[in-house]
């Protein structure tokens, strides 16, 4: 009964895991994996000598951290606001509308970001023109892109993440809020003294999982929304796009495989560390660690 899924997992996950080993050979498609020469760490030497690899690492880590922290703060705030008006009929509509972007592909996102930011006809530049300000060539100005990517990320993920926190908030005993109100605590105070402490396990879990995934990014966001513009690479090129470009654009599989090995191993180490931290921080009666 388990056979079809197990076969799939072996082929697409375990074999590719073993396949990470090609990082140590000078892979030539014509000679095949077993005919190619073993070169030890040479591919890694080439990799880390390129500035692009270091830049991609830096961008990956910094953008992940930015998304993680801002995403968490905004999602918690929005969840708390929805919680406050939970009995309202509007709640349903807010949730639905916020969740919709999660099911829209990055290709479509790149379409409307283009409609907003196109140099001649984009909505933002038309507005700047009407206000008598100078227009900005968005697609060749890398300095704005961390913020633009953050916006696109938030647009996509806010519904889902706030829903998860809202579910946790609904599990809190309402009497605690009644007691806090009687003690004179206002809503903001209640958020920090009642809500946050009680849903802390879920918050910690999500935060640590996010830290563990810091090396993996959403390829579509960085590839589609930036329209893969080389002028934007200084702030938008992450490991996933770097690896993809090494295979597709340059056909440099040794370099790509070294980068892939580096990404997978560091990612794995980070997840193990995150799990260990979750084990350390969670109380004994509710172990939230993943394994």
């Amino acid at each position: 009964m388990t056979l079809p899924a197990a076969l799939w997992i072996i082929v697409f996950r375990y074999i590719t895991l073993v396949g990470l080993g090609i990082a140590f050979i000078d892979y030539r498609p014509r000679r095949g994996i077993f005919g190619s020469e073993f070169v030890g760490l040479r591919n890694f030497e080439f990799l880390f000598r390129t500035e692009a690899a270091l830049r991609a690492t830096r961008n990956t880590v910094l953008l992940s951290l930015l998304f993680l922290v801002v995403g968490m703060v905004v999602a918690l705030t929005v969840a708390y606001m929805i919680y406050q008006i939970y009995s309202s009929r509007m709640t349903k509509y807010y949730q639905t509308v916020l969740l919709l972007p999660n099911f829209i592909s990055w290709v479509i996102v790149s379409y409307f970001v283009f409609a907003l930011l196109a140099t001649e006809s984009g909505i933002v530049n038309v507005m700047l023109r009407n206000m008598g300000r100078e227009q900005i060539a968005w697609y060749s100005s890398p300095q704005y892109w961390p913020f633009i990517l953050l916006m696109a990320h938030m647009w996509n993920s806010l519904g889902w993440s706030s829903l998860i926190y809202l579910a946790a908030m609904l599990g809190i005993d309402p009497q605690l809020y009644e007691a806090a109100t009687l003690d004179g605590a206002h809503k903001v105070r209640q958020f920090f003294s009642v809500t946050i402490p009680l849903i802390l396990p879920i918050v910690t879990l999500n935060f640590l999982l996010g830290l563990g995934n810091i090396f993996a990014q959403d390829f579509g966001l960085f590839y589609q929304v930036t329209r893969n513009r080389p002028q934007l690479y200084p702030t938008t090129d992450v490991l996933d796009t770097f690896i993809y470009r090494s295979i597709a654009g340059l056909g440099n599989i040794p370099m790509a495989s070294a980068a892939q090995f580096y990404q997978s191993v560091v990612g794995f180490t980070l997840i193990l560390t995150a799990n260990w931290l979750i084990k350390r921080t969670s109380r004994s009666d509710q172990d939230l660690s993943i394994f």
Binding site: Q84, V107, A118
Partner: protein, 315 residues
């Protein structure tokens, strides 16, 4: 892993229900001040509008003449309604129809196979008496944590499986989601053992139990997952980016990606512009036609999605 997950799933579900019900009438939780309530509503409505605005921009641009897009730029609201873009598409619809049939075929077939295969591994994993349960838990866990990434995957598919430019590659790799296996298992675990004992006493085999009892009892969970799987197939363009270069096999999202690329190539090298390449309005109209069905399906079934995500978040 399994023990605390299971316990949490069984214990938390009913308790949460009761509390959200009592929430409605409890005075301490809701905001009393009307101004504060109104402020919260205004903020949330503004966020919701921001979530919707991009859809408006795309629809409005698709209903604007190319002339107006060039002269006045894109806008949230069309200045003059003009359906030329749609007429142009339906004058020569081969590429659109081809992409539609690829996407529909892959999404439907992929979703059915995915749910079948995932239930078939999640069901044994959910039963305490299954002998290899521990092994399978580990077997599913390792690839969740340690991912080989796209380089070995690319070589595997192109050099060893020879699946480049086939329909198979479009639905095969995105099929199994570990997150969904874990979720399904959590749902199956909640089914009381007595059900299975009774079925076995009546002479039902494991296959029969899975396809009658388990699937029947986990219907809401399976429906949620079917929806998520279907939409993720519908939105998938990366698989085609890696492995497809025959336009007859382009799924919708990849067709959109290619339209954008063609337009950029034209902008860079105007001498290529012998044939009429899609204009901005036509591309936006294509985006509407490609997203419309997915958005409609989402809106019809979103109630189940909200439930599914909420349950899944608490495992």
């Amino acid at each position: 892993m399994s023990t605390h997950t299971n316990a949490a799933a069984t214990v938390q579900k009913p308790r949460r229900k009761k509390q959200s019900a009592s929430l409605q009438g409890s005075p301490g939780v809701r905001i009393h001040s009307r101004t504060l309530r109104l402020t919260v509503h205004i903020i949330l409505a503004a966020i919701a509008m921001t979530a919707l605005a991009p859809f408006l921009i795309i629809v409005s641009s698709s209903l604007t003449s190319e002339q107006s897009l060039v002269v006045d730029g894109f806008a949230i609201w069309p200045r003059v309604i003009d359906t030329t873009a749609y007429q142009l598409i339906f004058e020569r619809p081969e590429r659109l129809y081809s992409a539609y049939s690829v996407t529909i075929y892959v999404s439907l077939f992929g979703t059915v196979l995915a749910l079948l295969f995932m239930s078939m591994i999640a069901y044994p994993m959910s039963r305490a008496q299954f002998r290899y349960r521990k092994f399978f838990n580990l077997f599913v866990l390792i690839p969740m944590l340690f991912n080989g990434g796209i380089v070995p995957y690319y070589i595997l598919v192109t050099q060893f499986l020879g699946l480049r430019n086939t329909l198979t590659i479009l639905f095969l790799p995105p099929m199994i989601s570990f997150y969904q296996i874990i979720l399904l298992r959590a749902f199956f675990v909640q089914i009381p053992n007595e059900m299975f004992d009774a079925a076995r006493a009546d002479g039902a085999g494991e296959w029969r139990i899975l396809f009658t009892i388990v699937v029947h009892l986990a219907k809401p969970a399976i429906a949620t997952m079917a929806l998520m799987t279907f939409l993720s197939y519908w939105n998938n363009w990366t698989t085609a980016l890696y492995f497809i270069d025959n336009w007859r096999l382009y799924p919708l999202q990849y067709l959109l990606h290619q339209l954008m690329r063609d337009a950029e190539a034209l902008a860079l090298e105007p001498q290529l512009g012998g044939q009429a390449l899609p204009t901005n309005a036509v591309r936006m109209a294509m985006a509407v036609l490609a997203t419309g069905p997915a958005a409609a399906i989402f809106l019809v079934f979103q109630k189940y999605l909200v439930q599914g995500i909420t349950l899944g978040s608490l495992k």
